[in-house]
Amino acid sequence: MDGIGTALFAVLALGLVGGGLAVVLVNRITAAALFMAFTFLCNAGMFLLLGAEVIAMFQVIIYVGAITVLIIFGVMLTPQGDRRYGLFFQKQTPVAAIVLAAVAIPVVVFAFSFRDPTGAPHLAPGDLKALTTSIFVDYAVPFEIASILLLAAMVGAIVLVKRESDDAAGGER
């Protein structure tokens, strides 16, 4: 199991970082959307490796099943012409590089030098019971508020995109 676990981790880590890089670097937006879905799936695999099955399932349902589809809709509904300038030779790239380096270097150094605290208890496999207890008992009120946020976002999105009543004659019934 250990050897397989490590091998899986290596594959998934490569998939995550490689997929993320592909989203940023790939020129065609359709391909970027596919790579994004791939990255999400790899992340779900990471969650499974950590023993968080329920979170992994939610990850796939929400990210692959809903968010990727929405983004592909966005790709379809907007024009995807060629960019008029290169990816790395724009006026904001130097500033971006400096800002990013200033934040990234300390964080990445910390992340790579991070050592597991010894003696930390490992949870039992499976997170179904613990997670649901946390959500529905400890965090019941935030959970309800989150549902209101979703409703507000849904209504807001519809209002933003809905055309004025002139050309809506054939639409709404």
Binding site: M57, G65, V69, I72
Partner: protein, 381 residues
């Protein structure tokens, strides 16, 4: 050094087991599709007073095999203006989740790929991935019929996923588990969930019809309006993969219905002869598949606005009310399932009676408004 089964190194055993499982699932899918296509053609022929396939083999039994060989031998065509990677990826994106679903289906006692403790959630997850492939197929074909088909499909699948998941929740509430095996075992001695939760069965069934793009919800591939919807540009084995995925999906959905509501492998004498469970499971699954076919031969197709309003204004409120009633009754009467069953049957009756009435009233309203508008325009002209 750890040693796996058969004295193999686990590093070798794990991929081997994966290959075996995928092979077995593929075998099941292919055979199921062959059987289902033959069954479907024969059944529709009987219902429409035709003969159906009769020429190849006895009673036309080998017809689907011949068709499959024809598909395999066809030239692999890709139109020049299609989006290459999307076009190639779409069939696999639709097919792979369906194949993965077979891992948790409990065919009989101790005859299940893996007994996940989140099995129902796993199946829901895989079901939600199909929509991605269909949208991609519609977009990649670079064809307006395909695009409309893909768009319709995205709206339909995302909408009907909601009542589908909500119907599953009631079963989970009653059974107290997300594991397919434990849900089956909770329905021993003919106390199957169909008697307790008939409304959830009906709502799940309707949502499943929509999720698998079957009649009367086959708008994404409505041949009278959209040529073949998102399948228009596909031919040969790529088209075949989509087709296989559709039939496999029907089988998976029927197997879920069987496990969650019809008691899965349980049946008479199954305790003394566990292998009988496979027979019961297959029988029950194909019973539901037959109902799918029956509906296909009987019902006309929905219009897109009817489809959406039926989902959001009828199915989703009903399933939410069902969850509320079931949860409250289970908390109030933790020992007996009778109140839940009574409430559910009553709600099913109300649902069946109310939906046509409400739809008729809504349609009358729509017609009145359209008529008024037409008159206004006539006066204006």
């Amino acid at each position: 050094m750890p040693v796996g089964p058969f004295g193999l190194d686990p590093l070798i055993w794990a991929p081997l087991r994966l290959a075996l499982a995928v092979g077995l699932a593929l075998f099941l899918v292919l055979n199921g599709a062959l059987a289902q296509i033959y069954l479907e053609r024969k059944l529709q022929a009987i219902m429409q007073d035709r003969l159906g396939p009769i020429h190849v083999g006895p009673q036309g039994l080998l017809q689907t095999l011949a068709d499959a060989i024809k598909l395999l031998a066809k030239e692999d065509v890709r139109a020049r203006l299609t989006d290459k990677w999307f076009f190639l990826a779409a069939p696999s994106i639709v097919f792979a989740p369906m194949l993965a679903s077979y891992a948790v289906l409990p065919f009989a006692k101790d005859f299940v790929g893996v007994d996940l403790n989140v099995g129902v959630l796993y199946l829901a997850t895989l079901g939600s991935m199909t929509v991605l492939g269909i949208v991609i197929a519609g977009w990649a074909s670079n064809n307006k019929y395909s695009l409309v088909g893909g768009m319709r499909s995205a709206g339909q699948l995302i909408s009907y996923e909601v009542p589908q998941l909500l119907s599953l929740i009631t079963v989970v509430l009653v059974s107290g588990s997300l594991s397919m095996v434990q849900i089956t075992e909770s329905q021993h001695d003919f106390r199957i969930n169909l008697f307790i939760l008939p409304l959830a069965f009906v709502t799940y069934f309707i949502a499943a019809l929509a999720e698998t793009n079957r009649n009367p919800f086959d708008l994404p591939e409505a041949e009278s309006e959209l040529v073949a919807g998102f399948l228009t540009e596909y031919s040969g084995m790529r088209w075949g993969v989509f087709f296989l995925a559709e039939y496999g999906e029907v089988t998976v959905v029927s197997a879920i219905l069987t496990t969650l509501w019809l008691g899965g492998w349980s049946g008479p004498w199954v305790d003394s002869l566990p292998i009988l469970g496979v027979a019961y499971f297959t029988l029950k699954t194909y019973l539901i598949v037959l109902v799918f076919m029956w509906i296909r031969a009987t019902l006309p197709r929905f219009r897109i606005d009817q489809l959406m309003s039926f989902c959001w204004k009828s199915l989703i409120p009903v399933t939410i009310a069902n969850i509320l009633v079931t949860a409250v009754l289970l908390l109030a009467f933790p020992t007996t399932r009778v109140p839940v069953a009574v409430a559910n049957w009553l709600m099913l009756g109300a649902f069946v009676v109310a939906i046509p009435l409400l739809q008729r009233r809504r349609l009358a309203g729509v017609r009145a408004r359209l008529r008024a508008e037409a008159e206004r325009r006539a006066i204006a002209v």
